[in-house]
Amino acid sequence: MKKLDSKIPDGPLAQKWTKYKASSRLISPANKRKLEIIIVGTGLSGASAASALGEQGYSVSSFCYQDSPRRAHSVAAQGGINAAKNYRNDGDSVYRLFTDMIKGGDFRSREANVYRAAEVSNQVIDHFTAIGVPFARDYGGTPETRSFGGVQVSRTFYAKGQTGQQCLLGSYSSLNRQIKKGNVKMFPRREMLDLVLVDGKARGIITRNLITGEIERHGAHAVVLATGGYGTIYYLSTLAVNSNASAALKAFKKGAFFANPAFIQIHPTCIPQLNEFQKKLTLMSESLRNDGRVWVPLKKDDKRQPGDIPEGERDYFLERRYPAFGNLVPRDVASRAVKERCDAGYGVGEAKLAVYLDFRDAIEKQGRKAIEDKYANLFRMYETITGSDPYKEPMSIYPAGHYTMGGLWVDYELMTTIPGLYAIGESNFSDHGANRLGAGSLMQAAGDGYFILPNTINNYLADEIQRPKTSTDTPEFEEAERAVTERINKLMSIRGKQTVTSFHRRLGKIMWDHVGIIRNGKGLEKALEMLEELEDEFWKDLNVTGSTDELNQELEKAGRLADFFELARLMVADALNRRESCGAHFREEYQTPDGEALRNDEEFAHVAVWEYAGKNKAALLHRELLIFKELEMNVRSYV
């Protein structure tokens, strides 16, 4: 059994990263040119890493399944990006950001990694500003900030409700600069279908060219996965519909351990489902909770229009339950509170599965113009989708699957348990514990890509400078390609009666009902049985149209779904094993009398790390104990 070594440097928390960088091995520019790095995914972490490593002179190959790297789903992040600049003079600091993240993650993340993420956040903002990201400015020309859930300072930098788009296009621009210089070679419309190991080290990947269907081999000295999260496992989620877990799952099956797979954030403010063919729930940025007030009628089955319900007959339940943070409680807390009201019968709308997010008071107080300045595009998006005008009547919102805190286990250097395989951005588990705070994903993804990985990967590659280019004409690549082709042929040859989408819908329902906002032992056991039956049915009755040697979107979906089945089982195992409630993971059996999460630090102050044990075998559990030297593990309270 492999031993988990998180490689956290010694010394005081605030000096670990500086100390690490000073002792990490260096590689001369002449040698860097000879070293090849594969980066899968071109979202904020992948594009940042590809450009930063290209700038250093490495030979980088970058892959994405979209037609252009600019389309990766970081583009859809709305509200903002955190940095501990303290431009508002409101008591912020790197230490405060670190504290907020640890507390927000409910004491289930690593102190050293989180501190480092907070530390590089300032460099990230400097960098984005310098490469032309048009952040919002005050009249004096300095950058504006706003508040986000779970914190009491204003540290979120933003570009209206399109901060992710602006940051991603920034990283895309620096990626393009390196493509032009010849340091990065771009491979769009490629899907990674396996990881190739040579002598136990990550040496390449197998991809499918999504236009021609050709199976390709790519070799390198190291492989970086920047492949995002797996929220689409719920079918209905806030994610891009093609987002998937396949790359991470292939790595898992080749020996990379998977950490905390059950930690998945349900975003409280999404536009509810409007029709049965919908597979995307559009998110309404958390920043809206700065000015919007969340409420339901005090009376059950109140059929009146929201405007007709007088103030005294409204229940502003977040403000009522959490007076200190009010509408700005963290996402997990808000999601559960919304579900609680709806389950109790106070929900609004036809299905009674929604609550109001109301801007009436903010518009009255600040004027329509001020609200337009902050949220114009979000309000317009809401009106486009629903046909209702949020300047006039409150938005209806409901939670949906959003962000995965869980992911591939990585050490302090962001390396997985496979030597030479790295995971960055949302695809790793490292910084958000059991719950991510708003505006933390862009911060972490860009930090990983621009500033952390480019200062750790050298420590591994320094041993590789003598190693020639990785040949793909070897038995290892041969075997990986054969296995990939075999699975594709298997999917094509079932020739059953049911479509890929119909299976995905059913998988999503099982996961949402039993491994969603609230979980319990019985439900999880049941989910396991249902998943087994459904997967069995999938491999017997699936129909994939078309052929393998052409652009075939049904085949793409089928492969991703097959991987989701395996991941679903791992998520259930993890949720079952964690017999406590923490952050976004809420087990009904473990709650306080007033319905708040009840942590069990004695038994569960650890990262649950899963090792693949073979087909149809239960994954093996390892534990990385979390030791809090800096902060005391207190009860997270937003009251």
């Binding site: 400097d126 032309g132 400015r137 399109q162 029709n275």
Partner: protein, 244 residues
């Protein structure tokens, strides 16, 4: 509602394409246009027929993947909307809807409604960036940016690279697309240093990729789902003249 769809089907880049007619019944007005196509595709897959291929991903109007002519308009008849956001409530029972891929020399058809837009990436590689290496940035607050300039820069920077401007233009020109990037940087102090080189390089890249010239008809602005303004093209021209 019940609809008749006439959709362009083309097996691959080399094959000859043509319109195929499909009947759709009980389409909910709450669906988006792409959800309606999803419903059609699920029906086709059930009948073991090849579903209609189209690019799509975020489904919230920001990734720029989706895009098709709907009744002759890029992204359909409703202004300031991408295809993924186009609600079916804008159509009526009994309508016939014609769906085609972008038509432009620089965007060859890949399959059905999917076109190859890599020419856009190539133009961006020519100069759509600020030449600054990671690690060398000054403090974010050290260079003030006038609020009006930051806002105007943002309004240009929100281009999603979908290609509707090219599809709308009778010359298949990419001027609006290029001008959006040029403007974003030209308006910021950070981008001024190499503004001249950028304009020259990106315009040359655009010409090389096979896009047509601009004759100021304004069709691009009218069809842009993100309402990128024609004034950006004026700014591009100014920057371009300064380049030589």
């Amino acid at each position: 509602m019940n609809l008749t769809l006439k959709i362009w089907r083309q097996k691959n880049a080399k094959a000859k394409g043509g319109f195929v007619t499909y009947k759709m019944e009980n389409v909910s007005p709450a669906m988006s246009f792409l959800e309606m196509l999803d419903a059609l595709n699920e029906k086709l897959a059930k009948e073991n027929r090849d579903p209609v291929a189209f690019d799509h991903d975020c489904r919230e109007g920001i990734c720029g993947s989706c895009g098709m002519y709907i009744n002759g308009h890029p992204h359909g008849p409703v202004p300031a909307i991408t295809t993924c956001h186009l609600p079916m409530r804008y159509f009526s029972d009994g309508d016939t809807i014609r769906v085609e891929p972008w038509r432009a020399k620089a965007f060859p058809v890949v399959k059905d409604l999917i076109v190859d837009r890599s020419a856009f990436d190539k133009i961006q590689c020519e100069g759509g960036f600020i030449s600054l290496d990671t690690g060398s940035a000054p403090d974010a607050g050290s260079i003030p940016v006038r609020k009006r300039d930051a806002d105007t820069s943002f309004d240009a920077a929100i281009c999603i690279g979908c290609g509707a401007c090219v599809a709308a233009c009778k010359n298949a020109s990419a001027m609006l697309f290029v001008s959006a990037r040029i403007s974003q940087y030209a308006l910021l102090p950070q981008g001024r240093t190499e503004a001249r080189e950028r304009a020259g390089a990106m315009v040359a890249g655009m010409d090389e990729a096979g896009f047509g010239s601009c004759s100021n008809t304004g069709a691009c602005e009218a069809e842009c789902p993100k309402e990128i303004k024609l004034t950006n093209i004026a700014r591009l021209n100014r920057e371009y003249y300064k380049a030589y």
